[in-house]
């Protein structure tokens, strides 16, 4: 189990401090839930980890090397996927949007196979050839998640992935995320719906006043998971 350890993340906008020297671990095969009131900085944190927002201070420890912000961005941005709180669809069909996430070197048949699976999983078969920009709110979230699944990053940062989703889509999302986690992906999920993710998370952190507090520690969750697996 490899761990990515972030330390000293500082970020402020104008005179407002959003993140005040925050510390965080991401583990492969583990899902971390991030809660916090509106405007506490969840999105900001995820965007920093995704390489899209520049923090004032930052340190990341891969276990092998200490990385500053520039090195982190250079080395790790390509293995991190950040799913926007409000996802963006490219011009083109849902299918085009999904195929964007696939490696261009894959053979055509393989690509089509994967897209087909993704469409099926997300319940998007019927609207596969609709212009993605015209989709409904929940469909947006689904396509974005399917796109993330196709991309298969090492670290997946999800910003309110289930907002706007109906009940069934939420359940499917949870089971997809569980599968990804068990395949060894590191997940970090920001959400206002902790119950929804309770069966999935290994660690629950709450962001407030620029720092993280552990709500449920990793250890307890790990035990729970082991117990679940045992049973």
């Amino acid at each position: 189990m490899s761990t990515l350890h972030f330390r000293d993340i500082h970020k402020h906008y104008a005179r407002r401090t959003i993140l005040a020297g925050l510390e965080l671990c991401l583990r492969t095969g583990s899902c971390t839930l991030l809660t916090g009131e509106n405007g506490t900085g969840k999105t900001t944190l995820l965007r920093i980890l995704g390489g899209f927002e520049k923090p004032e201070q930052f340190a990341a420890d891969t276990g092998h090397a200490q990385l500053n912000w520039r090195h982190y961005r250079k080395l790790l941005q390509s293995s991190v996927l950040y799913l926007h709180q409000q996802p963006y669809m490219f011009e083109g069909s849902v299918r085009d949007n999904l195929s964007f996430a696939l490696d261009r070197s894959l053979p055509k048949a393989e690509r089509e196979q994967r897209i087909h699976t993704a469409l099926q999983w997300a319940g998007l078969e019927k609207i596969a050839d609709t212009r993605a920009k015209t989709l409904s709110g929940g469909e947006y979230q689904r396509v974005a998640l399917a796109r993330a699944w196709l991309r298969q990053p090492r670290i997946l940062l999800l910003d309110e992935p289930t907002a706007n989703m109906d009940r069934e889509a939420r359940n499917r999302t949870i089971s997809l995320l569980r599968q990804l986690r068990d395949d060894g992906m590191a997940l970090l999920v920001a959400s206002h719906d902790p119950e929804c993710f309770s069966s999935l998370v290994n660690e629950h952190l709450n962001l407030s006043a620029g720092r993280l507090q552990t709500v449920t520690p990793a250890s307890r969750f790990v035990n729970m998971t082991l117990l679940q697996q045992a049973s």
Binding site: G50, Y88, F90, E91, F100, T134, R151, P153
Partner: protein
């Protein structure tokens, strides 16, 4: 008014009589301008992109500079390049003056600031999430750039068409650098300038109409190809 009608008839006649001299001039016009546009567009769009997405000191000044350059008369651009390309000038040995290549250089210099200025305004209207989404889904910088370009293609098309309009119709630089030499560097605008200086207004307007028809064809094709261009939801 008669003169306008006369000119319209002349234009039609010119267009359909298959007048070789006319088609030669039209050919030179489009060859020079399309080549200039082709050369100027990629670096200009790249620069426009950097100006829209980068956040470095002086960025705003550079943007203002490029829109300022649009206020410089084409003949001044032509003159400046003339002094550079002239035998007396630093690039005199290249013997470019009064060739189509000199005209192409002049038109590149004219198209570039407009492409940057309007291109920047098109690119800055893009949603930043487009770039971020492309990048986070593993697109290379180049592919992400191409994606953004496609997202704002309508705005960029407007930039390209405005720049094309600027260079296909300009007379100052082409006259200075090309010299309006028959069979060599006479294009439609310099031919029009010649005709009007002779007082042959009808002939001038007729040539203008020929240009209009050709440009309309190009524009309608490009707009059709490009898509709808109204505010989507």
């Amino acid at each position: 008014m008669d003169a306008l009608i006369d000119a319209s008839l002349k234009a039609l006649h010119l267009l359909f009589s298959g007048d070789m001299a006319l088609w030669e001039i039209v050919g030179i016009s489009f060859r020079v301008s399309l080549l200039a546009l082709l050369i100027a567009t990629p670096p200009a769009v790249l620069l426009a992109f950097v100006l829209a997405y980068g956040n470095f000191p002086g960025r705003r000044l550079i943007i203002a500079l490029f829109s300022t350059l649009l206020s410089v008369p084409t003949v001044v651009i032509g003159l400046t390049l003339y002094l550079i390309l002239s035998r007396q000038g630093p690039l005199g040995e290249w013997h470019l003056l009064f060739t189509q290549n000199a005209m192409i250089i002049g038109q590149i210099a004219l198209a570039f600031p407009m492409l940057v200025s309007i291109g920047h305004s098109a690119l800055q209207a893009a949603d930043r999430r487009a770039w971020e989404t492309a990048r986070t889904l593993g697109a290379s910088h180049l592919r992400a750039l191409l994606t953004i370009i496609y997202e704002v293609r309508f705005g960029l098309l407007a930039a390209v068409l405005a720049s094309f309009g600027r260079i296909i119709s300009e007379v100052g630089a082409s006259m200075m650098l090309g010299g309006n030499i028959l069979h060599h560097t006479r294009n439609i605008p310099t031919a029009i300038a010649l005709e009007t200086s002779k007082g042959e207004f009808a002939q001038g307007i007729a040539l203008g109409m020929v240009l209009l028809v050709m440009a309309a064809t190009l524009n309608v094709l490009l707009h059709h190809f490009q898509g709808k261009g109204f505010v989507g939801s």
